[in-house]
Amino acid sequence: MTEVLRIHGLHKRYSHDSAEVHALKGIDLVVNQGDFVSLMGPSGSGKSTLLNVLGCLDRPSEGSYHLGGEDVSRMGDDQLSSIRSRYLGFIFQQYNLLPQYTVVENIEIPLIYQGVRLNAESRTRCVALAELVGLGHRLDHRPMQLSGGQQQRVAIARSLVNKPHLILADEPTGNLDTKTSHEIMTLLSRLNMSGKTIVMVTHENDIAKWSKRIVRMRDGVIESDEANIPDPIDDSGPPLPMHLLEEAA
């Protein structure tokens, strides 16, 4: 199995109001292609810090981080931006869509920063992704006109548009009700089954049990790292057009 990321001896220290916070105290983690990892832990355990480092938004104080074979732990700001735009897809708890853009324009944003020329072809791909997440009929809506679950679907489509090696999800269902959470998790599971690697932060056991592997953290270290057998997906709903994923992302 191909390694997507490898972290070795990772430390992260902040100086916060002259007091030093040691958020990560030596993390070793390998995530393989096709994995679906849940990062769990109480607040202050360092899981968000770890996700920020994984997302190349933050640099480790110590240790190494290889993403797709490249050592990103010593990269400059512009290089990290480039890594984010090529290798990573983000899904946030707050959805984080840009309110001034329509659904399809929001999906296009990562392409802009990848330097891709927006044209009819890229537009077709973005529309296909919107259809994949079930929003083909809402292409010209603004985020404010969509429900939370729909917004999160747009965010998922957006995270797929640059064909990322790794999708990082930060509490993707944190703002959603149980039913919608279920829909979103179904979608993520299907993406994973089609080969997408996902690392997800959550503090809900109900959500974590959708993943294949649960990593628990406490006080900046990994407490446990165990495999999990997800429940079989409830396929009672209409099937997602998974063929679109192969075409589009």
Binding site: N52, D77, D78, N96, I109
Partner: protein, 456 residues
Amino acid sequence: MDGFSVALVSGLACLSVFLATTDKGRRGLELALRSLWLHKLRSFLSMLGIIIGTSAVIILMAFGEGSERDVLEDIKRLGTTNIIIRSVKPPDDANTNRRQMVATYGLTYSDLEVLKTVPSITRLVPMRIFPQETRRGARGHNSRVVATVPQYADVNELNLIQGRFLVDDDDQRMNNVCVLGNETAKSLFPFDEPLGSSVKLGEFVYVVVGILADRMPTGGTGGSQAAEDFNQDIYIPLQTARGRFGERIMLRAAGSRSAEKVDMHQITVTVEDIDKVRPTGEIVRAILGDPDRHPRQDWALTVPLDRLELVERTKANIRQSLGIYASISLLVGGIGIMNVMLATVTERTREVGIRRALGARRSDITFQFLIETMVQTGIGGLLGVAFGVVYVFAHAGLKALPLAAFLFQEGSPSPILHVPSITWSLSTAVGVGVVFGIYPALRAAYMDPIEALRHV
């Protein structure tokens, strides 16, 4: 157009081409327009400073151009190669000096003869002026009788609508002929043909040989050059005047009478070349300044070309103060825009975080906000230019409005569009956008993406 303007125009053109054609530029432009459109009132209010600044520059420059044109036309009427020497009654010779019944002053025939020897002078046109009522039967007209030589018409660019001007023969033979100014002719001959008729000046009768075309009066210059209204004149040959009126001129005022002896009221000197106007002026000044010739300062010299220099100086002054006004208003406008942009950047912190997470580099964020500020000041500049240009063309109409009389003086110059000022003010506006936009843009770009994403 000078090199500076060319550089500005090409700079603006390059920027527009970049924004319009490149993918990045077009996207930045679209994004900027979109977010400005999202906050229409805010954008407009923050642009106001720029709008006012640029329109002020356009309008003031147009007024500067207008007054320059007015003066230039005046100079042209006076003749650019001319020097005008006038007799001036010296102040110590006022009417209170009772021992001297006849005030003798001014330019003499001897002066005229000496001036004829100056090589650079091609033409000397003397004239005398008598305040004399002109009569024709029962009609009278208070006109200015000007005794002069035939060249006077060329020097003052007088055009005839009927008949002829004075000729040398009239002067030599001391013919009793006259040429009427347009107004004088209308007032003396309201219904019939003036040509060939006769008018009476004092005790003598003169035959009308020509009528002048209507002509705008020249503007006065301080004390040395009175405004002249050629329409009220009557021209007679100089020698005729010498013979008929004598050397003395009787002046009647209410309750008193005085006389003065003036050989010539004015000599208009024409110089062969515009470059020799000033040196010749100095020579004339030296000749007349000789104390043996004129013990008192009873003459004055006007070089119309000097006014050109005055205009240039005034124009430079106008530009300088304009520069200051424009800088102040653009500075204020720029600070206003920077303030709004800082607020915008704070408001859109989360957007910056999202864009950074999705792969935007710092330079992408800087570019985005900088373009937004530049588009804002650019649009402000365009609106200001549009307002200024509209005002310049609407000025005449506005001036005709009933209340405008309080604002605009009679005879104040009309604005003329000064084209380079459009380029200056537009590029300054865009430049203000760069200067005041760079700090908010960098502030956005150097935000910590994690903090920015957490921002509510």
